[in-house]
């Protein structure tokens, strides 16, 4: 007797009976608990909004507040989708994502989906400003005060040597999703350093955390706003200041990163629908402090929804401004 056949023969009647019974139950299960209407908010013309959830906590804070307001003040049905950035943009094309609530640059994706395919539109700035740059843990800035000037980096290169950096100082890079010019910077500023790719944001944060705890040297790429800065206030190393056009040729960059005005992207479909959710997405702006306060609550273990409610309740006038 073959095993598969035996298994099939034995389990088929059982499976058939189960499925049959289930059908029967579902058929006559009018009283089932899960059929109860959600009640609470009356449905409006808002309909369903698909919001991409990119994973960093700052984004989660933005999304939590947007979703809270859309659900509770506008009566929208918000569907949250945990996706990384590039897949979120793909979602505009396939109609599965309506809102990206915090976008860092991504000129290439903007060109592909906004300019070329015309499936998404820019919904304006979030009011948050992003700073990308090279950072050191606070204990180093205290011990070597002049390290925060990029000109002195070569003096300290030996300090940053690791088993991965081939005899040079190490510059640790993180999530490859973020645009970096670090390899070009090292070359063009004549730094005795080598860029090492940690490969993820988690690896970068954990490295900084260990460096601060064990007082080991570390120089790495980081960005603000980021929840980790409230745990360990990293100190930025000043590279030659950014001027318009100094980073035009990626091969020849020799200046610091520009400030990023973070913005929101919504699908063309949502923008054209005239839905109040689209209006809310366009009107949504707040400050870095606002975002950090919500992000900190979430990082501290609060559910995003509860953290959003706390902020919305305390900032009624701001929210009313969005809804006008």
């Amino acid at each position: 007797m073959s095993r598969t056949a035996g298994l099939l023969k034995r389990s088929f009647p059982a499976a058939a009976a189960t499925v049959g019974a289930l059908m029967l139950l579902t058929g006559c299960g009018a009283a089932a608990v899960n059929q109860a209407a959600p009640g609470a908010v009356a449905k409006t013309d808002c309909g369903t909004v698909n919001v991409a959830l990119n994973a960093w906590v700052g984004y989660t804070a933005d999304a939590a507040v947007y979703n809270y307001v859309a659900t509770n003040k506008l009566g929208c049905t918000v569907v949250e989708k945990n996706l990384n950035e590039q897949i979120s943009w793909q979602g505009f094309a396939s109609g599965q994502v309506d809102v990206i609530i915090e976008n860092w640059g991504h000129d290439d994706l903007a060109k592909q989906y906004i300019t070329d395919q015309k499936v998404a539109v820019d919904a304006g700035p979030t009011g948050n400003v992003g700073h990308i740059g090279w950072y050191v843990p606070p204990w180093m800035a205290a011990k070597y005060p002049d390290i925060t000037d990029g000109k002195n980096l070569n003096k300290y290169a030996d300090l940053f040597k690791t088993s991965e950096s081939g005899g040079k100082g190490q510059v640790l890079d993180g999530d490859p999703a973020f645009v970096t010019n670090d390899e070009a910077l090292v070359k063009n500023l004549d730094l005795n350093y080598r860029v090492v790719f940690s490969g993820s944001e988690a690896a970068l944060i954990q490295s900084f955390r260990t460096a601060e705890a064990n007082k080991t040297p570390l120089l790495g790429y980081f960005y603000d706003p980021q929840w980790f800065l409230s745990e360990v206030p990293l100190v930025k190393v000043e590279l030659p200041a950014w001027t318009p056009g100094c980073d035009a040729d990626p091969e020849k960059v020799a200046c610091d990163y520009p400030q990023y005005k973070l913005n929101k992207i919504i699908s063309k479909k949502l923008a054209d629908s005239g839905s109040p959710a689209a209006k809310l997405a366009t009107a949504f702006t707040w400050t870095n402090e606002d975002q950090n306060s919500v992000a900190k609550d979430i990082q501290g273990g609060m559910k995003p929804d509860a953290a959003a409610k706390k902020w919305v309740d305390a900032h009624g006038s701001v929210v009313d401004g969005w809804l006008k």
């Binding site: 073959s2 035996g6 189960t18 899960n34 959600p38 994973a55 996706l83 088993s163 970068l204 064990n214």
Partner: protein
């Protein structure tokens, strides 16, 4: 894998093997020595030239043209007949099945997060199924574990994961077992299938996840399809291996009785290969579970989401809580499938306590009870939604977070010095030997070695693979990856032999080790990456450790299986003739399990390669980094795709060489003909 299992034309080497064999070995040694000397000389004299290094931020023209792939799919989604008549219906069908199971066990589509069956109903139905196909013990295990998910505060997430795994494993078996049987009985099918399987197993998921999400859209259907691609190879390979491992004389005996091909398959081959096929099903189920976690990156619901979100905020406790649920689910699936296969064995049937009739009565009775519970579960709230009061998830996370914090502060200096010594002493010299030797020289060296090991054919295959890697523009990155991969595989095989032999020789050790192996294989790497980062930093060593944890269990399990399968009379004969345990192991058990060892090495290697990309998330660099970057940044998608291909060809190269090395020296003249 392929070369080992494929039927080899043994006729040429058959006559006067003795004298020829001796000369061949010595010539082989000379060739290998010459290759090594050439390599060393080249390294010393030409060091740093012809390294083909490509900085991480730079692309070649090939990468740029591959970049257009995504745009092409997006433009052709609508209107292209392949999409309209094949891919879209496939997506709908898979989505329907997945949706059905998800609604049943996790959340009905009404918007409320309540399963159609209710949590108690879900537990009852699954327990009953476990009882029906297995036995009381596994049914109890099922009930306890699924209730525990609720206590962890993860019932809905676990149910989502279960629904997706169930869908994926069903599809995998429907496709995989017939293919495996075909490959086991037909050499032609085996020949065609092998490279395809190699491709499926070594192509990193991150490469095809984004395009899959474009083709099949974001969500469960894409997740299931990605999972099937990854989970099908083990069951196909092992089914085929099982059928091919049946002793020649058994088949001849059945042939002499005049059985037809189908009868032989049905009455001899399938039953005799059952042990190996079930191992394949287990491996596929484990692979499916690990893949469902990664599919969280394209919005597949379930435990993977919890892990991925926790990773972003470095919340080790929450990640471990969810990881524990995944491991427990793996154990349940493993034990239930094993129990089901044992029940099907003819000997078990005779020894059964209940007669067929009585058993049906018990089954019917318990089914009625189950349906009663389902009805309760659908009408009473506490049985529909798991009570939030009974939640120890937070306690588990807090405990784990504290423990991991303690480990990281107190072990750091130990692990730090270990890492430094391994990196400086072994990894760095080895890596520079690979990356700083001119590429053309290394190609020649590897080709000579391949010729020495497996003849012209192998030399041609390896040269071809290396040429592809060079033309993909990723030679230097490939050598970085190769260095770490080889180091990890050597350690995996050491562990595989040591623990595999111990487990194969003792049932007790086997029973004690298995849950740990299951845990190592199924605990999502995302869970332990963060504590390891704390211990070893963002370095290649962290990546190697993660790869070992994932790959060693496979090598150990396969080795143990091979050792246990050796006929006890042979071992007894050796013992009674006065052999020490060490002699028994080295002279009898290991040589007799050589074929299985080769399979273990091969699978260990494949699993290490599967972790190359995960390793890149913690500092491994190399090809893995290119793949990760390609997944998250569309401007380097082409380079990621190229890196994925390079990993595949690296895998095929290593695979063929290890297989040949394992099978040439003591090749039996009686290589099987099917």
């Amino acid at each position: 894998m392929a070369t080992l299992l494929r039927d080899r034309p043994a006729a040429a080497t058959r006559p006067d093997r003795g004298s020829l064999g001796a000369r061949r070995v010595s010539r082989r040694t000379w060739l290998l020595l010459a290759a090594a000397v050439l390599w060393l000389l080249g390294f010393l004299l030409l060091r740093g030239t012809g390294t083909l290094a490509l900085p991480a931020s730079e692309l070649t023209d090939l990468h740029r043209s591959l970049n257009r792939f995504n745009g092409w799919i997006a433009e052709n989604r609508d209107g292209n007949p392949v999409f309209m008549y094949i891919l879209t219906p496939l997506r709908s069908a898979v989505g329907l099945v997945a949706g059905f199971f998800m609604a049943l066990f996790a959340a009905s589509p009404t918007g409320e997060v309540i399963p159609v069956l209710g949590w108690l109903g879900t537990v009852a139905v699954l327990t009953w199924i476990a009882f029906a196909v297995g036995n009381v013990r596994v049914a109890l295990l099922t009930a306890v574990v699924f209730t525990f998910f609720g206590i962890q505060g993860l019932f809905v997430d676990a149910a989502y994961t279960f629904a997706l795994v169930l869908t994926a494993v069903l599809l995998t078996l429907i496709v995989g077992i017939p293919l495996g049987v075909l490959a086991g009985t037909s050499n032609r099918v085996q020949k065609v299938l092998t490279p395809v399987l190699d491709f499926m197993q070594t192509m990193p998921t991150f490469v095809y996840l984004a395009p899959l999400a474009l083709i099949f859209l974001i969500g469960p259907a894409s997740a299931v399809i990605a999972t099937v691609i990854y989970a099908a190879p083990p069951v196909i390979r092992l089914s085929s291996h099982g059928i091919r491992s049946i002793p020649e004389n058994t088949k001849e005996a059945s042939d002499s009785l005049g059985t037809t091909g189908w009868q032989r398959l049905h009455t001899v081959q399938l039953p005799m290969a059952r042990r190996t096929i079930v191992m394949g099903i287990n491996q596929s189920t484990m692979a499916a579970l690990s893949m469902v976690t990664i599919a969280a990156l394209i919005a597949a619901p379930g435990l993977g989401q919890v892990v991925v979100v926790a990773l972003q905020s470095l919340d080790v406790g929450t990640a471990v809580n969810a990881g524990l649920a995944i491991v427990l689910m793996a154990i349940v699936l493993d034990r239930v499938t094993t129990a089901a296969s044992q029940r099907a064995e003819p000997s078990a049937r005779r020894a059964r306590r209940l007669s067929g009739r009585a058993r049906y009565i018990v089954l019917a009775g318990t089914l009625l009870l189950t349906l009663g519970i389902v009805q309760v579960s659908r009408t009473v709230l506490w049985a529909a939604v798991f009570p939030a009061r009974l939640n120890v998830g937070a306690a588990i996370s807090d405990g784990v977070t504290a423990a991991s914090g303690w480990l990281q502060t107190n072990l750091y200096f130990l692990t730090h010095s270990f890492r430094e010594s391994v990196t400086v002493g072994i990894l760095n010299p080895f890596q520079s030997l690979l990356t700083e030797t001119p590429f053309y020289l290394l190609v020649v060296v590897i080709a000579i070695a391949a010729y020495a090991i497996g003849g012209w054919k192998l030399a041609a295959v390896t040269t071809f693979c290396l040429a592809v890697i060079v033309s993909l523009g990723l030679w230097s990155d490939a050598m970085v990856t190769l260095a770490s991969t080889l180091l990890a595989t050597v350690i995996v095989m050491l562990l595989g032999v040591v623990f595999g032999v111990a487990m194969g020789r003792s049932r007790r050790i086997d029973a004690a080790m298995r849950p740990m192996l299951d845990a190592g294989q199924t605990m999502p790497a995302f869970v332990y990456l963060v504590p390891f980062l704390g211990l070893f930093g963002a370095t290649r060593i962290t990546a190697i450790v993660a790869a070992i944890i994932y790959a060693a269990p496979v090598a150990i399990k396969i080795t143990a299986d091979g050792i246990a399968a050796i006929s006890p009379t042979v071992v007894e004969a050796a013992v009674s003739s006065g052999s020490t345990p060490w002699q028994v192991i080295s002279k009898v058990q290991l040589p007799m399990a050589r074929k299985t060892l080769a399979l273990a090495a091969n699978q260990g290697l494949m699993y290490v390669l599967a972790m190359v990309v995960i390793g890149a998330l913690v500092g491994a660099g190399g090809l893995g980094y290119d793949v990760v970057a390609g997944f998250v940044q569309s401007s380097v998608f082409g380079k990621g795709l190229a890196a994925g291909l390079a990993i595949v060809f690296l895998g095929i190269l290593l695979d063929r060489i290890t297989q040949a090395a394992a099978s040439t020296p003591g090749r039996k003249p009686g290589a099987r003909r099917t």
